[in-house]
Symmetry: C2
Subunit: 296 residues, 2 copies
């Protein structure tokens, strides 16, 4: 796609560069506004999926783009998505409804609907408060409360294993888009050797070197395999019920180091917590999702 093809693509204060796959896959086209809502057409692209279902972080980034455009704020400071149905690739519509617009923050809801032969199907419902981290008035920090960078035991980028270099790339097509790498010991479950610890550490990056902004952090929050694949549980689908991401800073250039872990698998439900750090050792995002434990 050339720049010229992008005539009616929404102009962003933040990044939307058609040279990069992620930006093409999260394009939105503003349509007419209905009452107080803003509608966008979009496309759930193939290749950002696991077994044919779009990745939850990718869908959240797509909706995040619409939220940023509708509110005029580049960063989802806190965003929660409830996942209502699996989502194959296809045409979609996103509707954003502003709730409140303040000086520092704006709150809005959004829905992504997949357009099917039989009508629209709601895929995710989102509630978010957005801001502008680059121009934020700021406030106190307590930097000595950063005891966990780099994530303990995370090997350097070059010593980690590309997530696209394995059998898993046969079903997790999203890894073909990403330059994501993981600690070797944390993904030996792919060869049947579970570590026994619900922990996956790695680096998030794009294959095409796209810089990582806060929108990409929404993708990163769900871009690694479930850490419970390292426990004595089936290696099967772990459907996300809800995911909340806080973006805490705009990442410095370079891959983002990540740690994902699950502490409580209980009654068929689990939480997975994520932390993401930039190359300067700044916490850039925290995520938590509630998901169904994998079953045979």
């Amino acid at each position: 796609m050339s720049i010229e093809d992008l005539g009616n693509v929404v102009g962003d204060a933040d990044m939307a560069d058609p040279r990069f796959e992620f930006d093409r896959a999260t394009q939105i086209f503003r349509e007419q506004s209905l009452d107080s809502s803003v509608a966008y057409s979009a496309k759930v692209h193939p290749g950002w999926d696991i077994m044919g279902n779009a990745n939850g972080g990718y869908l959240l980034a797509l909706v995040g783009h619409a939220l940023s455009d509708a509110t005029g704020r580049p960063d989802c400071i806190t965003v929660t998505a409830h996942y209502l149905a699996p989502c194959p690739a296809g045409d979609a519509r996103i509707v954003v409804t502003p709730v409140r617009s303040g000086r520092r923050f704006a709150t809005a809801t959004a829905s992504l609907f997949l357009l099917t032969d039989t009508g629209e199907k709601e895929i995710i419902r989102v509630l978010a408060t957005l801001g502008d981290l680059a121009n934020d008035p700021g406030g106190p920090s307590h930097m000595d409360e950063h005891p966990t960078f780099p994530p303990r035991g995370l090997l350097p980028f070059s010593q980690c294993v590309g997530m696209n270099e394995s059998a898993s790339s046969n079903f997790a097509y999203i890894h073909g888009r990403l330059g994501t790498r993981a600690n070797p010991g944390d993904i030996h479950f792919r060869d049947g050797a579970k570590s026994g610890q619900a922990l996956i550490r790695g680096w998030f990056a794009f294959n095409d070197q796209r810089p990582i902004d806060t929108r990409a952090l929404l993708l990163a929050s769900d871009a690694f395999p479930p850490s419970v694949f390292n426990l004595d549980l089936p290696t099967a689908w772990v459907p996300t019920i809800e995911m909340t991401v806080h973006t805490r800073a705009i990442p410095a250039p370079g891959p983002v180091s990540c740690i994902f872990s699950t502490r409580f698998v209980q009654n068929g439900l689990l939480e997975e917590d994520g932390e993401m750090w930039d190359s300067k050792g700044v916490l850039v995002a925290q995520s938590r999702q509630l998901a169904l434990a994998p079953r045979q």
Copy 2:
């Protein structure tokens, strides 16, 4: 109030017992249904506030009651509230809009509006997925992943200090309703002796011995002072931007042991994480809120 006065109070599958203060303070009255939404009248009661503003957990419990009634599901499995404005006591309206109703879970949004002289003011916007933990089909557990009960260093209930036994009860009226107790060393900040660790451990209970159900866990998630009061930051208001609570099990009888901590105070924002455990050592809830760091 007698049982007879409760003629048009919504009947619950779950608890709503007018002998208890919390149940009276979270009463809802179903009004007409508009389109696909369900409206309730309610009252934000005095005495559940800090300096005149209703506690965020109390407001969430009130909205949670309406969510449960409208969806027919007793438990907010995962609920996120965005706090839009401070809320004095007064008459309120809650509107619940169902999103999806499935076999195991139902998703809905809700808003609480305070009725003021000049009209309605939206106070919180909520997105939740509800279920029925007592009748849940269940699934795998991985119980040896519970390394943190009881919360490390938490003293027995009898050796903790009642949160209502101090100067703080002069401005945090909510503690008059609660039988909540805290580890003495974690609340010495009230006497000017900050521990240096953003950590508060304690026990959640009601003064009037009301049993703790999942609705009460929404209150418990925001019922302790901010753990950053133990850091070298001002002891001032810490406004919640967003709070998400996962209720993971129905508590066994007895006080609930709690641990709240903040790891990252950065650029004027902080997260506070909570864990709540019942008397049998079962994780009953996890909470995380994003809040503004306190300022002079």
